[in-house]
Each structure stands twice: as C-alpha cells, then as structure tokens.
Symmetry: C2
Subunit: 190 residues, 2 copies
C-alpha cells in the first residue's frame, strides 16, 4: 500500500502578517498555540477572527501560525457565496490580484486589499517521500478516494521540501464532495 | 460532442407531503410555482421553510413541487455539519432509517422522524438519450468535469424514464469542489 497518502481537510483559515496581528489583537500580541498541524512548525492558534464580505460574515475563523510575510485568507467556494467574494483557486502565497475582505479582531479591524484565495489542492512530500512516490516538486498528479462518493481529483500539485511531512491537503468542499475526513487515505495515480 | 451532458447543481431543498404542507402553511394551502426545473412537471415553489437541527438552523430552504407521498429533505454534507445531523448518501425516495429534522413554516412546525438525505449524484436520461449514450436504468458511470478543478466523479447512477430530460444532478459540495455551475457540461466516461 505504498501509494497511500494521508489526507488533511482544511477548513477556512487565515495567516496573519505581524502588522495585521498587531492591528487586530494589539501591539506586541503573540499567538498562542492550540495544536500542531501536520507540517512541522505550523500550528492552529487559539485565536480566531471574523471575516466580513459584501453579502455576509463568518466568525470563529482560525488563525494558523506562525506569522507570515503577507496576510492570506483561505476559504471554500461555499464560503465565498456566503461572504459575497470571488476568490481565485491559487497555490498558497500566490495572492496577486486576489480580492480582499474585512477582518475583525478583538482590538481592531483590517480592510485587506487582497489575499483571499481558494487553496488549490496539493500534496506535501518530504524529499524521501517524493523519491518513493517518484514525483518531483511542481508535478501535477491525480488522486483517487475510496467509498460510495469516490472521486478522482485531477491537477493535484506536488510540493516537495525538507520541511514537509507527507500529507494531501483538500478543502472542505472537496472533502465533503468525496465523503472524506482528515486522517483517511487517498491513492496516488500518476 | 455527443458525450456531453448538462449539469444542474442542486442546492438544499425539501419535498413535502400534503399533510406536512397543511401543517406548515395551513389547511388547503397550495404551492405557488416560482420557476420550472429541468425535469418536466417539477418546479421550485415560491415558498420556503426553515430546517432546525441539534447544532443549528438554515432558513430559506426552497420547497420543490409538486407534492410527494413522503416528505424528503436533501442537504449537502456541509449543511449537515451546521445542522448537527448525519444523513446517509441515498437515491431520492430511499429514506428508510435516515434521520429527521424540525421543519418550521409560517403556520406551524413538523418534527420529522426521518427523511433527511444527501442526494447521491445521478443523471436523468430520457429513453432516447439513454439509447444514444448506451446506458440502461440503474447503470453506474463515471463523469469528468473540465477546468482547473477538474474531477472524475465515480458511482454516478443512471436513471432512465420517459418523464426525464437529460440532466446530471450534483449537490453544492460536488459543484463547488469541481468549480462547476448549473448549465455547464460534463463528459460521460463509461
């Protein structure tokens, strides 16, 4: 079964710049870790914010740490209809030309000019995993899920880095469409 | 391009029995048509209800007409988490053992004992379409979507009837995961 990869279903979340963290939570504020994520050094913070669009708002949006150079909000297409925003499907970090949203924290608000994306599905590989699966950074592969709602997701980006642990990241629309939960496994189809 | 089939993305909705229509809207009430659906004789009604689960509620749930022998609520997996209910993935009409929800209308409430499902993806074929696609009632096929979020959905039920018009029905999780909108086309893969 060496073509099996664990799945993490990503709910909506936000990565904050240090300037925006200060605006939302106060000068000098530091994020408190709630629990570690699958990728080494990444964590879900105890803190949440509210995101506000033209048509609606969503509260309890989890902040993921650590701080990043640029603020980025990752939502599902389902969320985008509720908020009234039309984000592109993008790889993390590629936010140029994406729309913004208002972010509300306990000590202030930030009106983002850009940074809202729907995260493109992807797989994190440590270089040793990449070797064993025969993939290289930047490859696009297909994956198959199991069960009554089985799906083949195409155009899945392979990301290879020494800081990565093997994990396939889908969003909640993808997870729900496939009837898939965090910790279950998908099969790589090359 | 004779392997292309139009898609309809079904948002959450409810079909009502005549007894439940009377309980929710009053004795003798008749549904008012808002717009016809893709299947001949079926329509979206002007009327909506609120559905209430253990964890939350969702308003403005569209009633689809005409009246049916049994009340049935079709929601997405995303909706199920918000409501706090765990419906099975089922073909329409197959509600035995499914959970219920509270339904609230302008004149009363109904506590359903069962009837909440996640609709299994399916394609409606007129017999002439079925002949041209080479499928029979009850067949399971796969379908491929186009675009950056392209997906192959497996286990898609073929339903063939003289009252049907060619249309592939997916729910909002499936449509959003594939970046697909009503009126776009999928490709049948046998």
């Amino acid at each position: 079964m060496n073509n099996k990869i664990p799945v993490g279903i990503s709910n909506r979340h936000i990565h904050l710049s240090s300037a925006h963290l200060a605006s939302l939570f106060g000068e000098g504020y530091e994020l408190q870790e709630l629990k570690p994520l699958s990728q080494p050094g990444q964590y879900a913070a105890q803190e949440t914010v509210t995101i506000v669009g033209a048509k609606g708002e969503i509260g309890n949006v989890r902040i993921l740490g650590p701080i990043r150079p640029k603020t980025q909000i990752e939502i599902s297409k389902t969320d985008s209809f509720k908020l009234g925003v039309a984000p592109p499907v993008r790889d993390s970090g590629d936010t140029a030309g994406s729309p913004g949203l208002k972010v509300v924290g306990p000590k202030g608000e930030v009106e983002l000019e850009e940074g809202v994306i729907i995260a493109a599905r992807h797989i994190h590989f440590h270089p040793s995993d990449a070797k064993s699966f025969g993939v290289a950074d930047g490859d696009k592969v297909s994956i198959r899920t199991q069960g009554e709602r089985s799906v083949v997701f195409e155009n899945v980006l392979c990301r290879v880095h020494e800081q990565y642990a093997l994990d396939c990241h889908l969003d909640t629309d993808e997870g729900n469409a496939a009837g898939l939960k965090t910790g279950e496994f998908i099969e790589l189809i090359k």
